[in-house]
């Protein structure tokens, strides 16, 4: 299809964690079905800015391009979302791309989100099975329980909920919605709940669940529509119950 439409993209660039950021603008020829990732691929194939200056291809995180691996979260026109499912035709131009702002920049649009994986360790986000050898079938589960667990288990660790949360910052050290929702998932599993007390204990104190300010931004930006605020409310109640219980046991 012949056309001469162009797509304007402004990208916030940063050479390394120490250096200063700056913006570069690109003009790409429009193609049907473009998304932010295919635009970044086009730039790599012809790394020249809008004013004709040769530059380096953009560094960004990506993998599956089907919104299930969680890699390509970035700020697109100011909003935290996945780049693969951001269709160019639905975005206002010039499209502004920047790295998530609450995670250390590695380079350009690539950031370090290892904090989430550390959080998952601290809340023991796993089912403590005896071993991987054959021990027969798992616990029975009603379809209702499966249907409640499945949406929570679809969290792709993209960290959009943390980026959008006003409480997620260095001064609070808040764990963020994704981790709390995983606590709910494992605490409701018939075997997983063996570690319930430890998980709830990990969410008490500084940076724990009480840092949540109920802004509800998390549930709005979640690309997987995970009921995050409901998870926070449920887990919050459990944490409170356990804290009070411990108070009386002292």
């Amino acid at each position: 299809m012949a056309n001469n439409k162009t797509v304007l993209i402004k990208i916030k660039r940063q050479a390394n964690p120490q250096s200063k950021s700056y913006w570069e603008e690109f003009a790409l020829s429009w193609k049907p079905g473009m998304n932010v990732i295919s635009s970044l691929m086009d730039i790599a194939a012809n790394p020249v800015t809008r004013d004709g200056k040769p530059t380096a291809p953009i560094t960004y995180d990506s993998n599956c391009l089907e919104e299930v691996c969680g890699s390509c979260a970035m700020l697109i026109n100011g909003k935290a979302r996945m780049a693969c499912s951001a269709l160019i035709d639905k975005l206002e131009q010039p499209i502004r791309l920047g790295p998530l702002s609450k995670f250390p920049v590695v380079r350009d649009l690539s950031v370090d989100r290892s904090v989430l994986f550390e959080n998952l360790k601290s809340v023991k986000a796993w089912v403590p099975i005896d071993g991987s050898y054959d021990l027969g079938s798992g616990p029975r589960l009603t379809p209702e329980d499966q249907e409640a667990a499945y949406p929570l288990s679809r969290c792709i660790s993209c960290c959009c909920c943390m980026e959008a949360c006003p409480q997620f910052n260095e001064s609070t050290g808040f764990v963020g919605a994704a981790t709390i929702s995983q606590v709910r998932l494992f605490n409701t599993h018939p075997t997983g709940k063996a570690l319930k007390r430890e998980r709830l204990a990990a969410l008490m104190g500084d940076g724990g669940i009480q840092e949540c300010g109920y802004a509800q931004n998390c549930v709005e930006v979640c690309p997987k529509d995970i009921p995050l605020t409901r998870s926070i409310a449920e887990v919050g109640g459990e944490v409170m119950k356990q804290a009070i219980g411990e108070l009386f046991r002292r």
């Binding site: 299930v68 290892s114 023991k124 796993w126 403590p128 379809p143 075997t191």
Partner: protein, 589 residues
Amino acid sequence: MASNPKIIVIGGGLAGLAAVIKIAEMGGQVDLFSIVPVKRSHSVCAQGGINAAKNLKGEGDSTWQHFDDTIYGGDFLANQPPVKAMCEAAPGIIDLLDRMGVPFNRTPEGLLDFRRFGGTLYNRTAFAGATTGQQLLYALDEQVRRYESEGKVKKYEGWEFLSAVLDDRRVCRGICAMDLRTMEVRTIPADAVIICTGGIGAIFGKSTNSVVCTGSAQSALYQQGCYYANGEFIQVHPTSIPGEDKLRLMSESARGEGGRVWVPKTPGDKRDPKSIPQNERWYFLEEWYPKYGNLVPRDVATRAIHKVVYEHGLGIDGKPMVYLDLTHIDRKVLDRKLEGILEIYEKFVGDDPRDTPMKIFPGMHYTMGGLWVDFKQATNIAGIFAAGECEYQYHGANRLGANSLVSCIYGGFVAGPESVRYARNASATAANGCFEAERKRQEDINAALMKADGNENPFLLWRELGELMTKDCTVIRYNKNLQATDVKLVELLERYRRVNLSDRTQWANTTVVFTRQLYNMLQLARVIAQGACMRDESRGAHYKPDFPDRDDRNWLKTTKATFAPDADEPRFELEPVDVSLIQPRPRKY
């Protein structure tokens, strides 16, 4: 040697994580290397389910039937004993995953639900919505995180495997890898190495694979002396959604739950598909294959769609597309069983498949071929094992849907313990400077690329490679075109020498990493093209109109490619297939 050996696992998808769990459980120490955080590995993309003959639907299914379907579906090219062992292990694997907390769909009684998939008449596929791979990967990832927190596993995420470190006896002593942030090239010793690096989709440019699936690790090992087996067998999935950046998979489970493939009987029919009456639609799969209908194996469905589009000229609106229709199925059922994939279609195409038939077309999806391994998952280089899509063992000439997840986990469960056993029996010898030499070799490659000042852009070379391979090396193959493809590949390798990197910095430089991968893709592409050219028959996914029949007399053989360094190209040998359990019979669906 060490009773608690150190094993390096490359790749953190299902196969890699499965191996890690077994090694940690046996008391081994694991260094786990991955380009991406392991939770973001390509296994998350698997949608429809995982096969195991648990026979929970009163159909009389058995592990033997699963074995027979797999061998028959693979057109008798797979060695049979390991496939039989996999099918026998599958029900136990499902139980284990269930215990790990995978939210499999349930029956009203609370048992695991199963659905039908291609190439079988039984409901044998366990599933978690339509994101089964994601759910399985997370379950294994969580167990590995547990071992990580206990200090049994050390993760190297954001590292690229470059090569194996081989000593003067050609025994593997460790690996050479690159930190993708600092660009540091480092060697890491290990008692054994397991390669779990997945697919090779990037060789075909656009595919259903993830960005990291370049086949670079497999190719590097092939160039170091590992056999690469059955490279010519490439699965093209019948139903994918064409896109600018990739081809997105539309799971076989859509048909497993009753989805129907059709085209309007009138060429170029411009009517809204919902308004086209039943008698003006051609459900060609159901007509041609009354027994299996829409659930014929993938190679069969893909060729049928090609035929309808290119020979009958009946692609939707004259374009290479056919309808995959779910609109006759209850919305609630669709949401409960297929939501994940319907959401993908909705987000990326903009139409709701509950209301409108989807437009789909075949897309490169999987490689049946891969690193040659023996029944213990060991490659021909001592100390190097392989599991998952990167090896060739379980799927013969065509993989059945929902068999990949089980083969990944099973392969990892064999490779893990076998690598520990190997390491415990290996005798210690001097390394004689092999680590230094390998690091220097890899650093020199980087330095040469950084200095290169030609005029070829690696990303554009890659696009050419992808178009070339997709055109002549996928669904329909002619020797003349395959020969031309190889000539073109040699040209691309020639042009590769004149590459020019648009990024020469020493921090998180994705261009230099990609350019290295591109070289390995080009070398492996030659194995695929030449292997396809050589095999004068049609078997499974490998189809040559000039040789339309399977030829067991000459070609019931595994193709083994070995890299001839002085010739800089593959040499081939053939190995008989172990058909000791099921006598080959004609494959007719």
